[in-house]
């Protein structure tokens, strides 16, 4: 199914209404101008939590609203439309998704209800290179007798500032007695304030929340290891894919909105006595953007559907959706500025916010090149 059912249609419409009223683009401007690196309107987050969005993927037994990925995708698309600054993606999709798939019963009981209520915000600390490379992990977790010692650094953690819980990916150190052990990856639940962990805000161009994290001999109990010993690689991969798809939905919403704003401007702005949207060269370029929007929409819908019900297709469709969304938003945001002309270059006009968010979103969880390479590998060519 590449179309929405009635519930999803309704959810999308109500999300759109809520966000347009409570968090239009000027809300992001206000957060930026206020300069708080957390870039979060706490009152708004509470309202969002009341709508059940943070618990969209969480079963009702843990206090979630069990909306599912496709429904969550609609919320994210609408959040992209207004450039909502929130931890919905990083916390409620990625971190939550990881706990859902790999958390031990105790871990789930501890964290899921608080994630569902929005009380806790979590973030995945993964990337150690300026470009997403999930297989590069130099952060080391050395196993001791009563737990682990984490050391390393994460250079880009979306929504890491003020997160209550970090899910830190680390390579498990050599196990004594094994000569040439296969390196294994673990994820560690590190609550904010754990000694040795230093989280610093990055002032990114999109005015959203991102952090670097230093880990200096962070001492953790054995129970801090996600899954408490069970392999988590597959869950990590799934949660990352969920993040990619969710982000693709968000980017689709941003692209759609930037495109609509540009269309409005093309119809409104007159030069040489006619609306500039009557110039054929601009018309054709707008039509090309429309084509890319339609293609991306299909890819995103297919990928969201797979998260809910066709997991075997998730990796390829995640890369398809994210790659298309990256290319789309790159093209739309650049064309939007050009078509807005001088006014688009001013900070007073909102279209620039879409350009800025676009480039950060392209990088998060892998850019188009990353996902084409991954798709090719998945397809075997």
């Amino acid at each position: 199914m590449l179309i929405l059912d009635d519930t999803q249609t309704l959810l999308k419409a109500s999300a759109a209404d809520f966000l347009a009223a409570r968090s239009p683009v000027k809300a992001l401007r206000a957060l930026r101008d206020a300069g708080a690196p957390e870039a979060l309107d706490h009152a708004l987050w509470e309202e969002i939590a009341n709508l059940g969005w943070p618990g969209a993927l969480i079963p009702e037994s843990f206090g979630g609203s069990a909306i599912g990925y496709k429904g969550m995708g609609q919320i994210l698309e609408e959040s992209g439309r207004v450039l909502l600054a929130s931890p919905l993606l990083a916390s409620s999709v990625v971190a939550t998704g990881l706990l859902l798939r790999a958390g031990s019963p105790t871990q789930q009981e501890t964290w899921l209800p608080r994630l569902a209520s929005g009380e806790v915000r979590a973030a995945l600390a993964l990337d150690e290179t300026p470009r997403h490379a999930p297989d590069t992990c130099r952060t080391l977790a050395s196993a001791g007798t009563d737990g682990y010692l984490l050391s390393g650094a994460k250079c880009f953690v979306p929504e890491g500032v003020g997160a209550d819980l970090l899910l830190v990916v680390a390579a498990l150190g050599p196990v004594a007695g094994l000569a040439d052990p296969v390196p294994e990856t673990g994820v560690f639940l590190v609550p904010a304030g754990t000694p040795g962990m230093d989280c610093r805000a990055l002032r990114m161009v999109d005015s959203r929340n991102a952090a670097t994290v230093q880990l200096n001999e962070v001492r953790l109990p054995a129970t801090a290891r996600l899954g408490e010993g069970k392999p988590v690689q597959e869950a990590l991969s799934f949660a990352l894919d969920a993040g990619r798809i969710g982000l693709a939905a968000e980017m689709l919403g941003s692209a759609e909105e930037a495109f609509q704003r540009t269309l409005r401007y093309l119809k409104l702005r007159e030069q040489f006595g006619v609306p500039i949207g009557s110039f054929q060269a601009l018309k054709h370029r707008a039509a090309l953007l429309y084509c890319e929007l339609e293609l991306t929409r299909s890819a995103v819908l297919a990928a969201l559907g797979a998260l809910d019900s066709l997991p075997v297709e998730v990796p390829a469709l995640a890369s398809l959706a994210k790659a298309k969304a990256c290319d789309l938003i790159g093209q739309v945001s650049s064309e939007a500025i050009q078509m807005h002309g001088g006014i688009g270059m001013t900070d007073a006009e909102e279209i620039g916010f879409f350009l800025k968010r676009a480039r950060v979103a392209q990088q998060i969880y892998g850019d188009a090149g990353f996902h084409r390479a991954r798709y090719a590998a998945l397809m075997g060519y």
Binding site: S278, H284, A286, Y290, A299, L320, A376, M379, Y381
Partner: protein, 394 residues
């Protein structure tokens, strides 16, 4: 409902009894039945099947009995289709006569015209072609200049049509002609004429890819009885628009089929550039191939979504121009990319030094260039999207 059940049962019984077994196998292209005076039947069952179906009116099941049809209701026609499909029965007859001209005559023809033309069409006795485009009237079709002068009891037709597919194999042609120069669209009429009429000459067109189904058709002082005018004089554009819409729909459906029998880019890239595990060795080409394959996938998903939207009644009207535009451009990119991967192997014109597939790649690459021209150029499609979907001003 029980009536429909009866019909279903009778249909199944009749089909099982009368459809020759060779007509219940997948149809090779060269056994497709176009009918006409010069029809030849590679498989004699094709003719038998046509005759039997035509006798029952089932070549055009929804047409009235008097016109050679079976007068079926839409529901009954759907049942027939389902039953034929269930048994794997081939469609007995193809062509512009049943798909395009018939519906026009049913709507706009006089009683006499219906009686004269529809039964032979239904029986596959006359093969029709269409005369629309002219050398000076391509994207701007209404600019057509083929003149039909009123000479009392007949029109005298002079001019030239181009891209008349299969004209050299057809018996009659339905044409747009200019009957007035006062107004552009308002001076066009819709005329039927026998290709054997003196003064009609047709010549196949050779394309850059080689022989083609397209022809040029010339009219020199061709006398056409007035009885062969369909609709009113100067009101042919209305009919033309309906037919064009129909044609555009067809082309958008076949958008993805343009590549024909040539394997996907990634398959050929693996063949020419893959290592033993199938991994494409040139990383830059691998990226390009992947980009293409991903766009193919997104395009397929969009076709699927459009189908679902259409079924759900939430269809977005703009997608048909999108499919025509994107499908044909994507097909052109496909072949350019195959050429990059296969190098000189994809550039053979003929001869035994190349495999049949390699030669087909080269010809189909050349032919693909026409996809974004025929049936409404890419530029026209983008204009349509900009205007009708995006609402950008003229």
């Amino acid at each position: 409902m029980s009536q429909l059940d009866d019909f279903k049962r009778e249909t199944r019984t009749w089909l099982e009894a009368h459809c020759p077994s060779s007509m219940r196998t997948p149809m090779p292209e060269d056994e497709r039945c176009w009918g006409g005076r010069r029809a030849s039947f590679k498989n004699p069952d094709t003719q038998l099947w046509l005759t039997r179906m035509a006798e029952r009116g089932w070549t055009v099941p929804t047409w009235p009995r008097a016109c050679g049809g079976a007068g079926l209701s839409a529901e009954e026609a759907r049942v027939l289709e389902t039953e034929m499909s269930a048994l794997g029965c081939r469609q007995p007859l193809f062509g512009f006569g049943i798909s395009m001209l018939g519906p026009v005559l049913l709507k706009y023809g006089t009683e006499a015209q219906k009686q004269a033309f529809l039964p032979p069409i239904a029986r596959g006795e006359i093969r029709w072609c269409q005369g629309y485009s002219e050398p000076g009237a391509g994207s701007d079709l209404a600019n057509l200049q083929t003149r039909a002068e009123d000479r009392g009891d007949h029109f005298l037709v002079n001019g030239q049509k181009i891209w008349t597919s299969y004209a050299h194999l057809s018996d009659w042609i339905f044409c747009l002609v200019r009957t007035s120069t006062e107004r552009k669209q308002g001076g066009i009429s819709f005329l039927l004429l026998d290709m054997q009429t003196p003064g009609v000459e047709t010549r196949p067109i050779t394309l850059i890819s080689g022989a083609s189904v397209f022809c040029e058709t010339f009219f020199t002082d061709v006398k056409v009885p007035k009885a062969q005018l369909v609709g009113q004089v100067n009101e042919g554009w209305t009919i033309a628009k309906e037919l064009l819409q129909h044609e555009r729909g067809m082309i958008s459906r076949i958008g993805r089929a343009f590549g024909g029998a040539i394997p996907a880019v990634e398959v050929l890239a693996q063949r020419y550039l893959g290592d033993s595990a199938g991994r494409i060795q040139d990383p830059v080409l691998r990226d390009e191939v992947t980009r293409h394959a991903m766009n193919d996938r997104a395009f397929e998903l969009t076709l699927q979504r459009a189908g679902e939207e259409s079924a759900a009644g939430t269809a977005n009207g703009g997608l048909s121009s999108f499919f025509k535009y994107y499908g044909t451009e994507q097909n052109k990119r496909k072949f350019e990319l195959i050429l990059k991967c296969a190098g000189t192997r994809a550039l053979g014109w003929e001869g035994e030094e190349f495999s049949a597939e390699e030669l087909a790649v080269c010809r189909t690459w050349l032919r693909s260039k026409g996809n974004s021209i025929e049936g409404g150029t890419s530029e026209i499609q983008l204009n349509v999207i900009a205007k009708r979907v995006l609402g950008l001003p003229d």
